[in-house]
Amino acid sequence: MAAPLVGKTLFRNFFALSRNSFHLQKATVCTGSRAYSEGGGLLSSLFGGSGDKELAAAEQEALDVLSQRPTRKSRAYQPPPDLQERLEGMAAEIRGGPTENWRNVSVENISTKFQVLSRCNKEFGHEVPNAELANMKTFQDVLGFYKTAVVDNDVYNQLIEKDLPPNVNIQWDAYDHLVKKDL
């Protein structure tokens, strides 16, 4: 619930309820009241009484703000083809020259680890999560982490957009109107 609604007109309209009857349906918003059709949402239809325009307008504003939330950034990651070369280069820089066993180059030193991992994040667009930081001890571990691809778990959208065989019909949003939306 957005800030403008707090303590604003709720109490004033609570006592105006008795004048108007309202019927709550189980899963959907009250649709019978005039206040609902005039705009706004659940609160203004329940407590709006004789159409409190202030409350309805404020609520509509809140709904607009909520609907304009930024979309979630995809966490998908595919390892680049030259991953190994790049990490070898980084290890060489730390060692001071190219080495055979670059994989064993340690990153346990705090500042080394920070430099290496923040650079990897910048270059590959994929961050080592905090829980995994303790497991990054050598360049072998870093390589292992950046080798594993991550599929963003938006499987259902993928499924629908994929070429489905002609005998499959996925009606994914058929009953979305029944889902309760919390304000």
Partner: protein, 160 residues
Amino acid sequence: MANHIVGATGRTVTSGFLKSVLQNGVGRYVCQLQRITLKFCKASGQSRGVRDYVENHLLDFAAVNPGVVVYVTPKPQIHARVVAEYLNGEIHTVFLDKKSAEEIQQHVQSLVWRSGQPLVRLRKTQHTENPSIQGQWTPFTNRPSNTTAALEEKLKSLAK
């Protein structure tokens, strides 16, 4: 109902004889399953297996059975189920709450193999259109015809 005999017993499970749909399989085999509808909840824990099935196994199933139409209709708060409709109009529902994707695969496959005939207690586990190959035995089979011809004629006239 398979056997519409109402008797003194309160027995509710109907019984019937073994049937095939027009001797399906003797020549061409026609899959009797017309369509399946997977109904489940997108959010509940009990539908987890169905969601897993839809993600990973459903398209393989659809590719193997092109004659079966598959509908996937998620609905909030619904108990997960698969509704199978057969060519003879029979509708069969299997509830899939708390089942794993492998179990669901088995259930769906068993629906594909069914004939759509109602599930009844079988009175006999065999059925044949030709119960007798050489002819049904009568008392006159294997008896000399000169002694029994007249009697046989009489029996035949009585039978009509």
